[in-house]
Amino acid sequence: MSPDFVEVWVYLSASPLTALTVTLVAYLAGDWLYQKSGRMPVLNPVLIAVTLITIGLSVTGIDYWTYFEGAQFVHFLLGPATVALAIPVAKLLKEMRRGFGGLCVALACGSLTAAVSAVVIADLLSATTQTVLSLAPKSVTTPIAMGIAERIGGLPSLTAVCVIMTGVIGAMIGPYILDLAKISNWNARGFAMGLTAHGIGTARAIQVNPQAGAFASLAVGLNGLATATLIPILWSLWQWWSGV
């Protein structure tokens, strides 16, 4: 290695420019593969990008936090993007005159199912209490989920891992499951994807059908609110029950 190269490398590995560029290039590569395959859900662009970057980091020996320092500019946009979800939702609710009842029922059942099924399955597979509690809020968007986990005695960092995994799993297998269950209505498909797999599921729904995307955005917002109220209540009820 010539000294010049080392100097350039030292500069590049510390500058946000590299991490940002790498993130965008990896994502574009993932998206290209996904489009090329005829949008096969298994070739999820997030999963491909994450895999490529992880390989890149381990080959070059750059640690995650150095990478994140640059990539945080992309990460930061999650905030404004969450706020921006209000626009498709407002548009949808203005156009929709009927069917609010159905949405509320689907929301309540979905929110309850997401939390209870995760807890019950983990418990049956003999996970520790802390892990079980960390899994409960796995279907809501990361910041809400971490807040809930902290409140009920789960491990917030483990919850973050579970939330992202749920998103990727949902985006990958969701469309196949919906086909198998003969759910063809775009509103129902979008709502189910958003409720189960939060922003990652929504991203997929938006790409497939705008109407499904709007219902998915609606589901992310509503499920965030529903789960943030529901889980702490369920948790205190359960504590009261087992205390008796």
């Binding site: 995650y64 626009i87 498709p88 399955i121 597979l125 938006i206 609110l225």
Partner: protein, 116 residues
Amino acid sequence: MLVAITQLLVCQLIGEVIARGFDLAIPGPVIGMGLLLLILFNRRAIPESLETTAHGILSHLSLLFVPAGVGVVAHLGILGNEWHAILGSLIGSTIITIVITGWILQRMQKGVMDES
């Protein structure tokens, strides 16, 4: 475009202040989203600049999860010897939740359409 981005950031900032000020479990951006929703409801139409900007950000929503996703891989060790229980729970729960939610809404929407 610039105005729309500023509007989004202002909503997020207010949401963040409310969340931290009142020590709420709901994160700032979600409160900001609720706030913007209220504002948009009280207007007759959604401003076009806001709609274009939102569409721009949301059409690449999955890109925004990449940095956190790389962090997941870095934290995989946390899954430890419980990974099979966690993975089983995540996959099982995802399938059940998608089917139940989609099925209920499809049934309810069919009811609405049949009536009208």
